[in-house]
């Protein structure tokens, strides 16, 4: 709650400090607020936190437990890195920064919501600023296209999500998650799950799948990612995805857990398998790095969906680890992509020869590629391992598909490798000291969670 308030306050302050003045640099201010919010997370953890529905939090609609705080930490870390790396170089207006912070607070609401109304408001608060962000290059046709596509898809998926909520409301008589949980539990035990509830959860799943761009609702994301300005793309790829996953996790893994075998389990499993395969295979055929990254992020959504299918304790740990790994690596890759492609060349060739001119960058890129591909001793491996081992008991075939997907992913990650390390060229990135610090933080996250992922679990708060 404290973090949420700080982010809100920060958004408003940033918005008004920069108002009217053209060249004010408000990035440090935004970073300050996000930093404070991030620092407040451990404080919240020190108190005794409920795991799920033990109510001892005064705020009724928002629910700050281990799950929401952990996801909030991921979101804040991600936005800290994004703001640090993408806010400093290009002149970003304070209005855009403020909007990003509004969006971030929408993400935090989403992670903490304990009521479908709050989920809805969270989604909207997360998305509406991003519709604007996607179109912030006003005269760029690609930017316009991305904005309109993102907006239409977003509004459309929200409508579907709301229809699902209505059905759930009709079948359980409630919109707060605790009552839904009870009702679903009772229904499961009476062996009389209402078809209304099943179709409601399916529609909710569809609506949220649009947000995380899971198959078959992924088609918009490569276009939107490509057309949006880089800072919006990285925000969509990291913060939106993780926030939407936190909502999916809470709704499906916890609230509707009892219905998994009955209704959505196999659907999610098939979706995740298709997402993984499609994302990885389609990424192979791209010539534009940004589109490749978009498809790769689709594939990663598939892996994260797997974590919904297992018991909440294991799934939570896995998805959290995966989120950390994913955001840290994505931010690094997008940063270098942003710096390199500034002269409008978004092909793989733009990366040619980076290793010669910028060793630091090449090593960091290698590290994040390894993490994304799931090579051991990076956080990506720890995340993949925990997801796979948790899912193996029930969904063996899915794990095989996922392993196959990982093997395929090597090929396109190594295309970037090829350009960076093995091809002559003149790609150059002038990393400032400030950027280097943020990149260093991301790299440390990757390495630390890769070498000793147990530090996450060993924090006493994560012991379930």
């Amino acid at each position: 709650m404290k973090s949420l308030l700080v982010v809100f306050l920060g958004a408003i302050v940033v918005l008004f400090v920069g108002l009217g003045k053209k060249e004010t640099k408000t990035t440090p201010l935004a970073l300050l607020f996000i930093g404070i919010a991030l620092a407040l997370i451990p404080l919240d953890f020190l108190g005794k936190l409920p795991w799920s529905f033990e109510k001892n939090v005064p705020v009724d609609m928002l629910f700050f437990d281990k799950i929401s705080l952990s996801f909030t930490a991921v979101l804040l870390l991600a936005s800290f890195l994004v703001f640090g790396l993408f806010g400093s170089k290009v002149q970003v207006g304070s209005d855009l920064l403020g909007l990003l912070m509004f969006s971030l607070s929408g993400g935090i609401i989403l992670t903490a919501s304990s009521n479908l109304v709050m989920v809805f408001i969270g989604i909207e608060a997360l998305s509406i600023p991003l519709y604007v962000l996607a179109g912030s290059r006003k005269t760029n046709l690609k930017g316009n296209e991305a904005a309109i596509k993102y907006f239409l898809m977003g509004a459309f998926s929200t409508a579907i999500f709301l229809m699902g909520c209505a059905f759930v409301y009709g079948s359980t008589g409630a919109i707060d998650m605790e009552t839904i949980y009870r009702a679903a539990y009772t229904m499961e035990h009476l062996k009389a799950v209402s078809p209304l509830l099943i179709i409601g959860t399916s529609l909710i799943l569809v609506g949220l799948s649009f947000k995380v761009s899971a198959f078959p609702f992924h088609f918009w994301s490569p276009d939107v990612y490509e057309g949006s300005p880089n800072r919006a793309t990285v925000f969509m790829a990291t913060i939106v995805k993780v926030a939407a996953f936190s909502a999916i996790f809470r709704l499906f893994s916890i609230v509707l857990m009892d219905l998994r075998g009955e209704s959505w389990g196999i659907v999610v499993a098939v979706m995740s398998a298709c997402t993984i395969l499609l994302g990885n295979i389609a990424a192979l055929r791209q010539t534009n790095v940004k589109r490749t990254l978009a498809y790769s992020s689709i594939a990663h959504a598939g892996y994260m969906l797997m974590a919904i299918l297992v018991s909440p304790e294991m799934g939570f740990w896995a998805i959290l680890l995966y989120s950390f790994a994913y955001i840290a690596a994505s931010v690094i890759v997008f940063y270098y992509f942003n710096e390199i492609s500034s002269n409008r060349d978004e092909s793989f060739e733009a990366f040619n020869g980076l290793a010669k001119n910028n060793k630091f960058g090449a090593v960091l890129l290698a590290l994040s590629m390894f993490s994304l591909a799931g090579i051991p001793l990076t956080a990506g491996f720890a995340g993949k391992y925990s997801i796979f081992s948790a899912a193996f008991v029930e969904y063996k075939w899915l794990v095989f598909v996922a392993l196959l997907g990982s093997a395929i992913s090597i090929a396109y990650y190594f295309r970037i490798f090829k350009s960076v390390f093995f091809t002559e060229g003149d790609a150059k990135v002038n990393t400032t000291a400030v950027s280097a610090i943020f990149l260093g933080i991301a790299a440390i996250v990757i390495l630390l969670l890769g070498i000793a992922p147990s530090i996450l679990t060993n924090l006493s708060v994560f012991k379930f």
Binding site: D95, F102, I121, E124, A125, S136, K138, T139, P195, L196
Partner: protein, 184 residues
Amino acid sequence: MNSSQILVGVLSFISILGAMYVVLSKNPVHSVLALILTFFSISAHYVVLNAQFLSVVNLIVYAGAIMVLFLFVLMLLNLNKDSEPQKPKMASIAAAIAAGLLLVVMVAAIKDSADRIYHNTVEDVGLVKSLGKLLFTKYLVPFELSGILFLAAMVGAVLLGKRDKQNEEEMTNTVTETGGTDNG
């Protein structure tokens, strides 16, 4: 068949008719007008359902504010003519199949389970008083948050609507007569 059944039937018919016209009309302005008609019928439904507050809000927010905004934009952009090119048949068939499938699935789900929804009519449901009480106690947090959401939306709309000099110079095919700036 008693009077309320007939009333609901007629209202439903109007809603569906309006909705069909929204989708099928070639002229966007006609669509908007049909949509307003649909919204009015839905408001009437709310009255029948004893949800007076919603009915009023629906009229004010949807039929009043949003639809006027739509009309305003349509007029502003001079879109009030049949500008849309014909779509290939295949696309319309595919769209119809997709929508029809969803409808069938939903109807099939309802068929068996509608009677399981329990009826429990409480006197003050839907009245402004009870809703207001709930809104400012239990739903205070979402209420405040949606205020902030509005702030964000407003900033965003202004940001998109305004034209800054730097962009003006880049602009290749500037359209001068369409300066809609205040849609927030």
